[in-house]
């Protein structure tokens, strides 16, 4: 899967995420699917705008593997 070139997939050697606009709810959402685990997350417009404005430092904090995904809790 590495490299993930193709419509609607953002991929590289570390992760592959399918991206599409979902229209089944009351307004469009971004549907993100981690193709390696099948986990799905929806992001609405306000959440996406927030991501756009996220400072680099905050994003790096989220990338810490122990922050949320493998917290060990």
């Amino acid at each position: 899967m590495g490299g993930g070139v193709g419509d609607g997939v953002v991929g590289n050697e570390f992760a592959d995420v399918a991206v599409r606009v979902d229209t089944t709810a009351n307004s469009p959402r971004l549907r993100l699917e981690d193709l390696r685990t099948g986990r799905v997350r929806f992001l609405d417009a306000l959440e996406l705008e927030t991501l756009v404005w996220l400072p680099e430092g905050h994003l790096v904090q989220l990338l810490d593997p122990s922050a949320d995904r493998w917290s060990g809790a």
């Binding site: 709810a25 009351n26 307004s27 929806f42 417009a45």
Partner: protein
């Protein structure tokens, strides 16, 4: 005027067989009704199918109150007031959408879709982040029956089950017409504004005396047998359930005819997929369900289920009411749904005949009720031939004003409390 004074006044204005015309025309009465009925009792707000996905929301109303019905990510349905806790601006402008949060357009205050304040820009002005304990207003009590979401501004009082009483069984009757046991209100809503008092609409919904006159033209054009259901020789009945709820129970006529889907003006042969799905889902009970059909029930104060379509009554002033209409959709019944949608548009759509007929009557009534004499409105029809059924509900003939008397008895109770 003190509360005791107005209590005595309503005691006088609502009598067993007549009500005073000023109840429909007075702005002061309307203000009292908002406080004692709309902001006190259970009011129907929306259906869970309208917020099917996590973070879906729709704008609804309880009378003039602008209510956001939202579903948070954990699946819970919330009824929030559409008012920023800062300066009162609307936090939500669209009729529907999907968002985990609402952001006020005025100063950027942001709330979760469950009502909690997330934050506010330039927080130093409030002494720092997280210093304010302000959230969106909420309807204090929310309860759901068969996907129908009701709200009550009264923090205490009867439960929804107590409020609905046996009228809940009529909602159950509608839902069991779905092979999957669920209805969906996903067909979209029409809104009709009438220059009339809300009670004229509520009273009319189960008034079996008017159809043969007001709807004569559509019955004639459509060669419909519905008119005959509302006649002196009909075995149908009008039933007052208590708490202001009522129904036109047409089942005696449909049972007499004994034809599955006769209530819907069609036959088993024309709906083979639906009938097969119903028989698979319900077994032998399907025959009775298909013969008896859907309810025709008015749930006090604002929910009217008229077999294939659903109305909500929204009062905005003593003489302005909006009627919201949608076609009922039965989950797992595409054949029926297509037809229900077509019939709904034909009868109560923008060019529909039934609702136009009724609205003309509401507005004529409102004008007439403004006349000074005679002062009273008569609701005595059939009171001499009522009886009480085995469940303790008052039952009258198909054309009798039993439902209106039930409505007014409950109204009086609420207004004199």
């Amino acid at each position: 005027m003190t509360h005791a004074d107005t209590r005595a006044r309503y005691d006088e204005l609502v009598q067993p067989e007549r009500v005073h015309g000023s109840l429909y025309t007075s702005p002061e009465v309307f203000a009292d009704e908002l406080a004692r009925i709309w902001y006190s009792t259970w009011v129907y707000v929306g259906h869970v199918s309208e917020v099917a996905k996590p973070n879906d929301y729709v704008r609804k109303a309880i009378g003039p109150q602008d209510v956001i019905m939202s579903r948070s990510a954990d699946g819970e349905v919330h009824l929030l007031l559409n008012r920023c806790a800062h300066r009162g601006n609307l936090v939500c402008e669209a009729a529907a959408g999907n968002s985990s949060s609402f952001r006020c357009a005025y100063h950027g205050w942001t709330y979760r879709n469950s009502g909690e304040l997330v934050g506010y820009p330039f927080h130093q002005g409030y002494g720092g982040r997280g210093k304010l304990d302000l959230g969106l207003g909420r309807v204090p009590r929310v309860a759901v029956h068969q996907g129908f979401v009701f709200g009550s501004f009264a923090p205490d009082g009867p439960s929804l089950a107590e409020h609905l009483g046996d009228a809940a069984g009529e909602i159950d009757r509608l839902v069991r017409l779905s092979p999957e046991g669920e209805i969906e209100l996903t067909a979209g809503w029409l809104q009709h504004r009438a220059r009339a008092n809300w009670k004229l609409l509520a009273e009319n919904e189960t008034d079996g005396y008017h159809p043969q006159f007001v709807h004569a033209s559509i019955f004639s054009v459509a060669e419909s047998g519905i008119g005959a259901l509302y006649g002196e020789k009909s075995s149908a009945v009008t039933r007052a359930f208590g708490h202001g709820h009522s129904e036109n129970d047409l089942r005696p006529e449909f049972r007499r005819l004994g034809a599955p889907l006769g209530w819907f003006g069609t036959t088993e042969e024309r709906m083979p997929g639906y009938v097969a799905a119903m028989r698979a889902a319900h077994g032998e009970a399907a025959q009775e369900i298909l013969v008896e059909g859907a309810p025709h029930v008015m749930i006090f104060p604002n929910l009217f289920i008229a077999e294939i379509q659903m109305f909500t009554i929204q009062p905005l002033a003593h003489d302005v009411t909006v009627q919201h209409v949608t076609a009922v959709q039965l989950k797992g019944a595409p054949e029926m749904n297509r037809r229900m949608l077509q019939q709904c548009v034909g009868s109560v759509g923008p060019a529909g005949l039934l609702l136009a007929d009724d609205t003309e009557m509401y507005e004529r009534n409102q004008v007439g009720l403004g006349e000074l004499r005679p002062e009273w409105v008569d609701v005595r029809r059939g009171s001499h031939r009522e009886h009480v059924d085995e469940r303790g509900h008052t039952v009258g003939g198909a054309t009798d004003e039993t439902a209106m008397r039930g409505f007014w008895a409950h109204y009086r109770e609420l207004m004199t409390r």
